[in-house]
């Protein structure tokens, strides 16, 4: 008899740039993408997902274990392990004119 076990997903720790906001993400399906994990984490972290002009803010996930930025389309199963730590780092602009 062969017993089969269904993989339930992995757990991750996600923080923002400053380390001031952290969330634990559980049950991440291995076939989900990095982009889905990022978008799913932002609301609970209280971080905006649009810039001042209403355009989507581009957060890149940096995998602390490897020191590299992940592509949004990479799959969780290919890129991540259980208990991995991600840092969400935005591409964001300062300056411009006074309102």
């Amino acid at each position: 008899m062969i017993a089969t076990f269904e993989k339930r997903g992995i757990g991750l720790l996600v923080r923002d740039v400053s380390g001031q906001k952290k969330v634990e993400v559980r049950n991440v399906p291995v076939d989900s993408t990095i982009g889905e994990v990022v978008q799913g984490s932002l609301p609970k972290m209280g971080l905006p997902n649009t810039d001042v002009e209403g355009r989507p803010l581009n957060y890149h996930a940096r995998l602390e274990r490897e020191g590299r930025h992940l592509h949004a389309s990479e799959s969780v199963g290919d890129a991540l392990r259980d208990d991995d730590q991600l840092v969400l780092q935005p591409n964001i602009q300062a300056g411009g004119r006074s309102s």
Binding site: S18, G19, Q20, V28, S32, G40, R62, P90, A94, G95
Partner: protein, 362 residues
């Protein structure tokens, strides 16, 4: 609608001295800055409260207007839950919190001619109770996302010793969390601004949280600035990239002093110097670069959401005769200009720097 505020909020815009509103529009405020402010205030008020930043269980309720009654809102009350033996704290947020939403809601009225461009208008906030949905799960039902409280180990340090060796600059409302910045950090930033010429530049401010246990006072000390790397530096724009942040993390790690992100700085250079129409421009010599733009506010919101975070702006006037320095920070969930203490500056120079500028709120 937020799980923190089980109300539906509506904005009424009217002309000055008019009884009937021009427009009534539902609004969905970003409550996070208000929650963060209340969290910090709760910590500051109670010396026994641990320095733990966690807004997930705070609650928001409207306080009704004495004059008009419900559903008109006089102010917003945020309740921060008890922790350990420390009691719950109530912190009030003024209705000016909705100013940005009111400004956005007025744009269509200006375009349609119901309001003149630049016309001053009134706005009121109404709130209606509504049942909360389950905000604990994200839209994808398989992901479970749980917020983790962040505790900062503030070390005990005498604030009086720092005050004795510093001078104050900028507005000085009593409710600000004291921030100390070494004069060396300010000088480094000014040198980098000069080197960058007409392009914007900037960096991250790092340092430590402290508590003076003898007085129960919390305060910040900036220890260094990390200049931006891998950023796109343009005339009126500075773009922080993911590589920029990774480089800052690397620098903090190399320093090995348990420093945390306290804020950021950037420059508004003398834009007029690069303009070939300068000699014929009626605005030459009149523009001030000392401001905090909508993009600056958005960056501060996205990257420095905790209420103790600060933003330093170095600006050069049209004549490029001097560099002005202004510090901005969170105040009741909004960003305002604020004062700070300069460490290590001689008293004779500090006397020339004292200004009487009122705090400007964005």
């Amino acid at each position: 609608m937020s799980i923190h505020a089980p109300y539906r909020f509506v904005l009424e815009i009217s002309r000055q001295n008019a009884k009937e509103p021009l427009d009534v529009t539902p609004v969905d405020p970003d409550w996070e800055p208000a929650l963060e402010w209340a969290n910090l205030e709760a910590i500051r008020r109670d010396p026994n409260r641990p320095v733990v930043f966690d807004t997930q269980n705070a609650r928001i309720e409207p306080a009704w207007s004495d004059e008009l009654g419900s559903p008109y809102v006089a102010k917003i009350r945020v309740t921060v839950p008890p922790i350990g033996t420390c009691r719950a704290a109530e912190v009030d947020i003024p209705v000016s919190y909705f100013r940005g939403l009111a400004r956005a809601a007025s744009s269509p009225l200006v375009k349609s001619g119901q309001l003149a461009d630049g016309e001053i208008f009134n706005y009121r906030i109404c709130a209606y109770p509504q049942s909360c949905g389950n905000g604990d799960r994200v839209a994808d039902g398989s992901l479970v996302v749980e917020t983790l409280p962040v505790e900062i180990a503030g070390t005990d340090r005498s604030i009086d010793e720092l005050l004795a060796g510093s001078s104050h600059s900028g507005p000085d409302p009593a409710e600000w969390l004291p921030v100390f910045i070494p004069s060396g950090v300010l000088e480094e930033a000014a040198e980098l601004m000069t080197e960058a010429g007409s392009a914007e530049t900037g960096g991250v401010l790092i340092g430590h949280f402290h508590r003076d246990s003898s007085q129960g006072v919390l305060f910040l000390v900036v220890t260094a600035q990390i200049p931006v790397q891998y950023a796109r530096q343009e005339l009126t724009r500075l773009t922080f990239t993911p590589e920029t942040w990774a480089a800052v993390d690397g620098a903090i790690s190399l320093r090995g002093r348990d420093e945390i992100y306290l804020g950021w700085w950037h420059t508004h250079p003398n834009w007029c110097a690069a303009c070939d129409k300068r000699d014929n421009c009626e605005m030459a010599g009149k523009l001030s670069a000392d401001f905090f733009s909508d993009h600056d506010v958005a960056l501060h919101r996205a990257v420095f959401p905790r209420a103790y975070s600060v933003a330093l702006v170095l600006s050069s006037d049209c004549h490029a005769n001097s560099i002005q320095r202004s510090l901005y920070g969170w105040w009741r969930g909004m960003i305002a200009s604020r004062g700070y203490h300069i460490l290590g500056i001689p008293l004779a120079i500090s006397a020339q720097m004292e200004g009487d500028a009122d705090a400007e709120i964005f």
